[in-house]
C-alpha cells in the first residue's frame, strides 16, 4: 500500500511528444515508472520512446489500461487536457503546467465535481512514491525510501525537505507536490488526510507558503482528527511584503489571515511542530520521532 501512485500505476503522458513531455517521460521511465503510452492530438498511431502515441486520452486508456495521467501541455490548453483526462475516467491526473489562467481553473474545479478523478496541481512538481513510482519532474535520487510523507506547495523546497529528511537518517514514503496556484485540485488538507491514513507513513512534513487558507484548514483538520501522526510544518514567505506576488500565482498576502505568521500560529495551536528556518525541517523531524 502507498499513497496515490505505486509500482502498479500505469501512467499516460499528455503532451508526450513535446520537449518537456519527452524529457520528463524519459526520466520517469529510467526511475522505473510504468509509462504505458502518451497522447498528442494528431500524432496518434505513431510511437515515441518505444510507447504508443494516441490522439485522445480515451483511446489511450482503452488500449493501455492507464489509470494515471501526467500533463505537460502548454498553459492555454492545459485546462482542456485535465477535463479530457477526467472524461476518460483517469483516476489520478497530475498537472505540471505552470501559468494556467485562473478562470480556466474555476471551470476545471467545477467540471471535476462528482467525477472519480483526483487532480494534483497544477503548477506542481508531481507525486513520487520513493523507490516505486515517479509521476513528476522531481530528481528521483533525492527521495530515499522511508516512512515520512511530504505535502508541499513548492517544488525545490520539497526536494530540500526530502534531502534533509534523508540526511537525518530517515526516508520518504510518498511526496505530494500540490502546487502553488490559487486553485488546485488537491488542497493541503486532502493530501495530509491521505498520508494520515497510509499505514506506510509514520510522520508528515507539511510545507506551505503565504496566500490562501489551505494550511489553516489542514491544521484544524489534523487537530480535529486527534493528531494521529506527528507533523512538522514550515511556511515560506515570512519576509514577503504584502500585496506582492512571490513567483507562484497563489503566493500573495491579501489580508491578515494569509501571512506566514498567522499560518504558523494556527499550525502551532493545532499541535504541528513548526520550524521557522527551512534549514531545520529534517532535524526537527528526527527530534520529534525520538520523543
Amino acid at each position: 500500500m502507498s499513497v496515490l501512485v505505486n509500482k502498479n500505476s500505469k501512467i499516460l503522458v499528455q503532451g508526450f511528444t513535446g520537449t518537456e513531455g519527452t524529457f520528463h517521460a524519459t526520466q520517469m521511465i529510467e526511475y522505473g515508472t510504468q509509462v504505458v503510452g502518451g497522447v498528442t492530438p494528431g500524432k496518434g498511431g505513431s510511437s515515441h520512446l518505444d510507447r504508443p502515441v494516441f490522439n485522445t486520452v480515451a483511446d489511450c486508456v482503452k488500449t493501455t489500461g492507464a489509470n494515471v495521467s501526467i500533463i505537460f501541455v502548454p498553459p492555454a490548453f492545459a485546462a482542456d487536457a485535465i477535463m479530457e483526462a477526467a472524461e476518460a475516467g483517469v483516476e489520478l491526473v497530475v498537472c505540471i503546467t505552470e501559468g494556467i489562467p485562473v478562470q480556466d481553473m474555476v471551470k476545471v474545479k467545477n467540471y471535476l465535481q462528482g467525477k472519480n478523478t483526483r487532480l494534483i496541481g497544477p503548477n506542481c512538481p508531481g507525486v513520487i512514491t520513493a523507490g516505486e513510482c515517479k509521476v513528476g519532474i522531481m530528481p528521483g535520487f533525492v527521495f530515499k525510501q522511508g516512512r515520512i510523507g511530504i505535502v508541499s506547495k513548492s517544488g525545490t523546497l520539497t526536494y530540500e525537505a526530502a534531502d534533509q529528511v534523508a540526511k537525518a537518517g530517515l526516508g520518504i514514503s510518498t511526496a505530494i507536490g500540490i502546487g502553488g496556484d490559487p486553485i488546485i485540485g488537491t488542497p493541503t488538507k486532502d493530501a495530509v488526510a491521505l498520508l494520515m491514513a497510509d499505514p506506510e507513513t509514520d510522520a508528515i512534513v507539511m510545507i506551505g507558503e503565504i496566500g490562501g487558507g489551505m494550511e489553516a484548514e489542514a491544521a484544524n483538520w489534523i487537530k480535529e482528527n486527534g493528531n494521529k501522526k506527528p507533523v512538522v510544518g514550515f511556511i515560506a514567505g515570512q519576509t514577503a511584503p504584502p500585496g506582492r506576488r512571490m513567483g507562484h500565482a497563489g503566493a500573495i498576502v491579501g489580508g491578515a489571515d494569509d501571512t506566514a505568521a498567522a499560518k504558523m500560529k494556527i499550525m502551532e495551536e493545532c499541535g504541528i511542530h513548526v520550524v521557522s528556518s527551512p534549514a531545520d525541517i529534517g532535524k526537527k523531524m528526527a527530534e520529534v520521532l525520538k520523543k
Binding site: Q27, P101, D104, V106, M138, P139, G237, M246
Partner: protein, 403 residues
Amino acid sequence: MNLHEYQAKELLKKYNVPVQEGFACSTVQEAEEAYRQIKTETGSKFAVVKAQIHAGGRGKGAVKETGMNGVKVGKSLEDIQEFAKGILGGTLVTIQTGPAGKVVNKILVAQDMYYDGPSERKEFYLSILLDRSKGQNVIMYSTEGGMNIEDVAHDTPEKIYKEWVHPGGGLQGFQARKIAFNLGLSGEAFKNCVKFVTNLYNAYVGLDCAMLEINPLFKASDDKIIAVDCKLSLDDNALMRHPDVAALRDITEEDPTEVEAGKYNLNFVKLDGNVGCMVNGAGLAMATMDMIKLSGGEPANFLDVGGTANAQTVEAGFKIIMKDPNVKAILINIFGGIVRCDRVAAGVIDAYKNLGNINIPIIVRLQGTNAEEAKKLIDESGLKVQSAILLSEAADLVKKAVA
C-alpha cells in the same frame, strides 16, 4: 498586471458598463480641450481632474512639489488649468504609494456626476474577485461606498454582502436583482443596477480579471448607475489571450529593476534589505529570504531563476542584484535536480569573471545533482566565493557576512 483608471473605464465601456466619461490628458493644453468638450456635452461647468497612477488614496494624497491633492473638482477653465499644472509631472504621495510617491504622467479630466436632480445621490461599493477557498468568483458589495472597504469590513462587517457565482451557470438574474435590492434601490435605478452588475460580471470574466473594484459605484440624481472610479487588475496568466489589453501595460509604473529582470525571464521583486539572493524555485526563494532574516540579515530581493540556472541567467541575476547599493552580500541557493550543480557552479565562476569587479562576499550553496563536484569547482576557482552544501552551512556563512 494593473491598469490605470482611464484604461479600465475604456475597457468597461466595451461591455456596456456605464462609466463617468472623461479624457486622459498628458498636457495642460489637452486638459483645456477636454474641459471645453465636457462642458459642451454636459452643459455643466463642473469637471473633475484625477491623477492617473497605480495606487489608491489619490483624493487625500498630495503632490510633493505643489501640495495639490490628486483628485480635484473644478468649475472653470482656470480651475482645470491650475489643477493640470499642479498635478501633471508631479510626484503624488498617497497612503498606498509609500513616501517616494509616484510620478503623474497623465490626468483624467472627467464629467462631474454629482449634479442635482429628482432623486437622492448614493455611493455604493462593489467588487468582483476570486474566492480561493471555494474556487468561485464572488461579488462583494456594500451600501457603504466611497470609503476604504477594509475599514467597513472591520467596523461594520454586517454591511458587506457576498454573492458567489456558479462556475458553470454564471451570474443569474435573481442574483443581480438581489444585489440591487440589498443596495436599497427601486424603480429605474434598480433596473439600471441589475444591468450594470450583469455587464460588469461579463467584463470581469471576458477580460480575465484578477480583481475588478468599483468604488464608488454611484447612483446619480437621475437614477443612472455609474462607475465613478475603477480599479482593474488582470490575471497575468491570461494575458496571452488578450494581446490588446496586454499592450496597455505602463512600465513607468513598475520598478525599473523588475522590468529589466523580466527581460531575462527572471522573476524578481525588489525589497529593502542588505543581502541579495538568487534561488531556483519560488518556494525555496521565499524560504531563503526567511533564512537570511533569521541569520541577522534582511533580504534585498526575491529572485527565482527558474529551472535553468546557467551562466547567462546567473550573470544577469548578479547584475540586477548589484544595482542596489545596499546589498552587502549575495547568497546563491540552488537545489539541483534536473539542473546539474557543477554546471551552475561553472556558470557562477564565468559570471564572476565576466563581471570582474565584485567586491562583496558571494555565498554559493549548491545541493542536489553533482553537489560535491560543484563545491570543488568553486573552492578551486581561486575566486572570493564561499561555498556550502547544507542549507544550515549557508545560513552560518550569511551570519558571518552580515556580522
